[in-house]
C-alpha cells in the first residue's frame, strides 16, 4: 500500500489539465505512441468537442521512480466547470493529494480556487504546478505570488512545467511520490469501498468506479450495497490503464472499477459504500452531499409519439448522471413532457445534446428557470421550479429568489466591464481585491440573472479571460411578477417566466420582438403578446405568409425540388405545433437571447 499514490488534478478548462494528464500517461507507458490520442481521458464525444470533462475518469499507471521502486499512480480526473463541482469533491474524496495546475501566463482561475479549497478541506496534499512555461508571456513569480495571495497556499515549491513540450513533467511525478502520502490502511479488513461514480454500459450493465478504503474486493464476492441493503455478485474488478484491465482483486488504497451485473444504476448510488455481505463493515463511509438541481426546464418531445422514448432516454441518462432530476410534466400547450432539474446551464445543454444525439430525439426545451420560494398566505413555503405553477396572486404573501455569491477573477483591464455587467444584472458588490496579475471581485447576484447568459457575457466582456465560481447564499423576497406569453390569444404556459417587476416591461417587449423574428411566417397572422395577468404589456404580429409553392414543375429533374422540400420538412421537425401555430425550438429559448 505504501507504493500507491492516489491523486487528482485541479485546473481550469484551458490551463492544460488534459495535456498534462496525457503527458503523465505517456511517461508511465500507459499507451503506445500509436494509441495516444489527444486528450485520452475525455471519453464522451461531447466532452471532446467542447474540450471539457464532465464525468470522473480514472487511470492506473505504473511509475518507476528515481528511488528505484515502481509505484502505482492512480489518477482520478475531475471536471472543470462550475456546474460539475460536486463531481470534483467526489473525485477528491478518493485521493490523498492533488495537483493544482495554474497557467503561468494567465494566473489563478476562480474555479480552481474553489476546487482547491475543497481539496484542502478534505485534507489533501496540494502540489502547485505552473504550466505553459514555454509561452513567452509566462511569469512564474507572479503566478506563485497569486497562488499565495488568492488561495493562501505556499507556492515556493511550485513546479514549473510545460505539458506541451514535456519539460519538467517528470518532476511532477517525483513530487507525487515524495509529497503525496500513501493511503492509510483502514482499522479492519472488513471491506469498505466508496462508489465514486457509476455509469451504465450497454453490455455490462452498471459499472462503478470505487476507492477501496479497507479490505479487498474480488470477483465472486457477494457484496452488499449499504444504503439499499441489496446484495450483488461481483463479476469482475480491474483498473483503467487507460484501457480496461481485469485484475484478481482491488485492495485497500486502490482505485478501480467493479462490475456486479447490477441492472440499474440506482442499485449502485454514487457516494454509497460497498461491503461484503457475509462480513459487513460496521458502518458506511461518509457519503457525498446530494446535489440539488438549481435550474429547471421543461423537456417536451416535438412529436407526442416520442414521449415513451424520451422517458426511456432520461432513465438511461440518469444512470450516468445522478445530479439530473426529472418528473413528468403536463403542459396545456406542449402536451406531455418532463420537468428536468440541472446543476446549471452547461449541464442542461449537455443533457439536451445527448438526448438528441445519442437517442435521436427531437426536443423542445423551455426557458430555464431557477427555483423560487413562494411564501403562501397560509404560511406554507412552496419551492417553485415552474413559472406556470405559480399560485394565484391572492394566495401569495411573497416570492423569494435565490441569491448567489459570485467570485470573479479578471485581468485588470476588464474589471470595469465586469463590474458594469454585474450591476446590470442587479448585482451588489461585496469586495474587490487587486492581486498580482488579476482583480478579484465578489458580488451578490440573483441566480436567475446568472443562468440566462451571464457566463457568455462575462467571457465576451473580458475577451475570455474572466473566470467565475459561485455558491448559493440565501433567498431574498422581491417584487416578482409572472410574464405570460400569448400566441393568437392563448397563453402558452411553457413560455411563462418570473421577472423582477422593474425589468418586466423591457423583458416583455424584447421577448415579443425576438419571438416575432424566430417564428416563421405561417398561413395566417400570428399575434404574440406579453402579459402580466390580464394586462398586455407588449404585442407584435408575424404577418401571414402569402404562398409557398414552386413556380415551375415540368417533368425534369425532381432531385432539387425534393431536396428543397426535405429541407422544409427537416425545419418543421424542430418545430412544435402549439394550437395551430408552428413554433421553432429557438423561440422557446428566446428569453436567453434577449440581451444580444
Amino acid at each position: 500500500m505504501e507504493l500507491i499514490r492516489n491523486f487528482s488534478i485541479i485546473a481550469h478548462i484551458d490551463h492544460g489539465k488534459s495535456t498534462l494528464a496525457d503527458r503523465i500517461i505517456q511517461l508511465c507507458g500507459g499507451l503506445s505512441e500509436r494509441e495516444m490520442e489527444a486528450q485520452v481521458l475525455d471519453n464522451n464525444p461531447i466532452e471532446r468537442e467542447r474540450g471539457i470533462t464532465i464525468k470522473a475518469q480514472s487511470v492506473s499507471l505504473p511509475y518507476k521512480a528515481r528511488d528505484g521502486k515502481t509505484y502505482q499512480l492512480n489518477f482520478i480526473d475531475t471536471p472543470g466547470h462550475v456546474d460539475f463541482s460536486y463531481e470534483v469533491s467526489r473525485s477528491l474524496s478518493a485521493c490523498e493529494g492533488a495537483l493544482l495546475v495554474v497557467d503561468a501566463a494567465q494566473g489563478v482561475e476562480a474555479q480552481s480556487v474553489a476546487n482547491c479549497y475543497t481539496a484542502i478541506e478534505q485534507g489533501l496534499e496540494v502540489i502547485p504546478v505552473l504550466n505553459k512555461i514555454d509561452l513567452p508571456t509566462a511569469d512564474i513569480e507572479k503566478a506563485k505570488a497569486e497562488i499565495e495571495a488568492v488561495i493562501g497556499l505556499d507556492a515556493s515549491d511550485a513546479i514549473p512545467v510545460s505539458a506541451k513540450t514535456g519539460q519538467n513533467v517528470v518532476e511532477v511525478l517525483e513530487a507525487i511520490i515524495q509529497r503525496i502520502p500513501a493511503p492509510k490502511p483502514g482499522d479492519t479488513d472488513k471491506l469498505q469501498a466508496l462508489i465514486i461514480d457509476s455509469w451504465f454500459d450497454n453490455y455490462l450493465g452498471v459499472v462503478s468506479l470505487v476507492r477501496v478504503m479497507q479490505g479487498e474486493i474480488r470477483p465472486g464476492d457477494k457484496i452488499l450495497v449499504m444504503s439499499t441493503g441489496r446484495t450483488h455478485l461481483v463479476d469482475d474488478v480491474g483498473v483503467f490503464t487507460p484501457k480496461r484491465k481485469k485484475l484478481e482483486r482491488l485492495a485497500a488504497g486502490e482505485v478501480g472499477w467493479i462490475n456486479a451485473s447490477i441492472k440499474d444504476v440506482h442499485g449502485a448510488p454514487v457516494g454509497d459504500t460497498l461491503t461484503h455481505a457475509g462480513k459487513p463493515a460496521a458502518a458506511p463511509l461518509p457519503g457525498f452531499q446530494t446535489m440539488k438541481p438549481r435550474v429547471f426546464a421543461g423537456l417536451f418531445p416535438v412529436s407526442a409519439d416520442d414521449y415513451p422514448a424520451l422517458r426511456e432516454a432520461l432513465d438511461k441518462l440518469r444512470l450516468n448522471d445522478a445530479a439530473m432530476f426529472f418528473e413528468p410534466e403536463s403542459s396545456e400547450a406542449m402536451g406531455f413532457g418532463f420537468r428536468c432539474g440541472f446543476l446549471g446551464m452547461l449541464h442542461m445543454e449537455i443533457v439536451q445534446e445527448r438526448l438528441e444525439r445519442e437517442y435521436d430525439l427531437d426536443l423542445i426545451t423551455t426557458a430555464p428557470t431557477v427555483v423560487y420560494e413562494v411564501l403562501k398566505t397560509d404560511g406554507s413555503v412552496l419551492a417553485m421550479d415552474n413559472p406556470a405553477k405559480l399560485p394565484p396572486p391572492q394566495q401569495i404573501t411573497e416570492i423569494r429568489e435565490p441569491i448567489i455569491v459570485a467570485t470573479i477573477l479578471t485581468p485588470g483591464d476588464y474589471v470595469g466591464n465586469v463590474i458594469k455587467l454585474c450591476e446590470e444584472k442587479r448585482g451588489v458588490q461585496l469586495t474587490i481585491q487587486y492581486l498580482a496579475t488579476q482583480v478579484q471581485v465578489t458580488y451578490e447576484l440573483p441566480l436567475a440573472e446568472v443562468v440566462l447568459d451571464f457566463f457568455d457575457r462575462l467571457k465576451s466582456v473580458s475577451r475570455g479571460y474572466a473566470s467565475m465560481d459561485y455558491h448559493l447564499e440565501r433567498f431574498d423576497a422581491g417584487p416578482f411578477v409572472r410574464v405570460d406569453i400569448l400566441i393568437n390569444g392563448d397563453r402558452v404556459d411553457a413560455l411563462s417566466l418570473i421577472v423582477h417587476r422593474s425589468h418586466a416591461d423591457r423583458r416583455g417587449r424584447e421577448l415579443v420582438e425576438r419571438m416575432k423574428d424566430l417564428i416563421p411566417r405561417q398561413q395566417f397572422d400570428v399575434a404574440i403578446q406579453a402579459a402580466i395577468g390580464a394586462a398586455v404589456i407588449a404585442r407584435s404580429t408575424v404577418k401571414a405568409l402569402r404562398k409557398n409553392v414552386l413556380a415551375k414543375c415540368y417533368g425534369g429533374d425532381v432531385s432539387r425540388k425534393k431536396k428543397l422540400l426535405e429541407k422544409q420538412k427537416e425545419g418543421k421537425k424542430r418545430m412544435k405545433q402549439v394550437g395551430s401555430v408552428e413554433i421553432p425550438q429557438e423561440a422557446f429559448l428566446a428569453v436567453l437571447k434577449v440581451d444580444k
Partner: protein, 385 residues
Amino acid sequence: MNLIPPPLSLYVHMPWCVRKCPYCDFNSHGVRGTPAYADYVDALLADLDADLRDFGTALDGRRIATVFFGGGTPSLFAPELIGRFLDGARERLPFAPDAEITLETNPGTVEHGRFDGYLAAGVNRISFGVQSFDNDKLRRLGRIHSAGEAADAVRQAQDAGIGNINIDLMYALPEQTLEGALDDIDRAVTLGPTHVSHYQLTLEPNTAFAANPPPLPDDDAAWAIQEACEARLGEAGYGQYEVSAYALPGRRCAHNLNYWRFGDYLGIGAGAHGKISDANGVRRRWKTRLPAAYLASAGQPARIGGDNLVALDDLPFEYMLNALRLVDGVPMADFAERTGLSQAAIAPAMAACVARGWLVHDAVTLKTTALGQRFLNDVIEAFMA
C-alpha cells in the same frame, strides 16, 4: 408491379441559346461560333433509336400523344432540321393523329417566313419566351429581344396559320410595380394567344441572379401582383388550370398536362429527362448535360446521365408534386394506376391534408383547395417518406 401504361409524350431538348439569361437554371448554353445543328439532329435520332431499344416492350403499342421542343432556344434550329427530326421520329414511333407539337421560340431569333417552315415541318403550337413587354425589364432580364419584336413575332406566327400560341410572362421582376405587371398581361392578351404561362421570377442556385440578386418585390408585393394578374387573365377568358398556367377553353397544354398527370415521356437530347413506366416500376432516365459530350456519345450508352427506378417510398411525393398543381385535380384512380401503390398507402397523409383544408376528394376526383394551391409545398411535404 402492374402499372397501366399512361399516355406517352416526347420531350426534345435543344441546348443552345444566343445568350444565357441571368435568371435561367435550365440546361442552356450560349452559342460560340455556329453549333453543329445538323449533327445534333442526327444525335437526337440516334438517341431515340437507342432509347427505343433499351425500353423495348415497355413502349409496345403506345402512341406519341405530344411532342415538345424545349431549351435552350429550339428556334435556333432551322425548320428543315426540325422537320428532319419529326419525320425521323414518325418513322420510329406511331404518333397520335392530333398530336400536339410545341416548339419554344425566342422572339429575337425568328426572321420573316420561318413559321411557315415550322408549320410545314409539323409544329402546331408555338410557345414564345416573351417574359415582359417592358423594354427596361427585358434588358434587366438579359433578353435579346424588345417588346416590339415579341409582338411582331407572335403576329407572324398567327399569320402563318399557327393558331395555338403560348406567351410566357414572368412577374415579380426587378423593381416591378403592380401596374407594370398588369400592363404586361394587357399587352399579351391584346395579341390574342390561346395560352399564357405566368411565372414568378425566382432566384435559382447557380445563376447569375443568385450570385448577384437584383432588387425584387417582396413576398407581399409579389402576391398582390399574382392575385391581380390572375384576375385580369380570368376577365380576358384565360382560366388558371395550374399554378402558373392559364388558357382559353380547350387550349390547355396537352404536353404539360401529361407531366402533371404523371404520364410517361421519352426525354431526348442533352440533359433531357424521361419517365417510363415499365414492368419494374417507374423509371427515370436522363441524358448527359453538356452538348459536346452528348454529341460525342450519340446513340451510345455514354449519352445516359443516369437511369433509375423511383423508390416506392418516393412515388407518393413525386406523384403529388405534379398532380396537385392542377386546379381541377386528377382522377382518384390515377394514383394507383400510375404508381402501382394502393390508395391506402397515402390515406393518413391525405386525411391530414383534408383536415388542414388543403385537399378535397370524393370517390372520383382528388384536388387541392384554393388554400392548398397557395401552400402547395406544405401539402406535398405531407406525402414525403
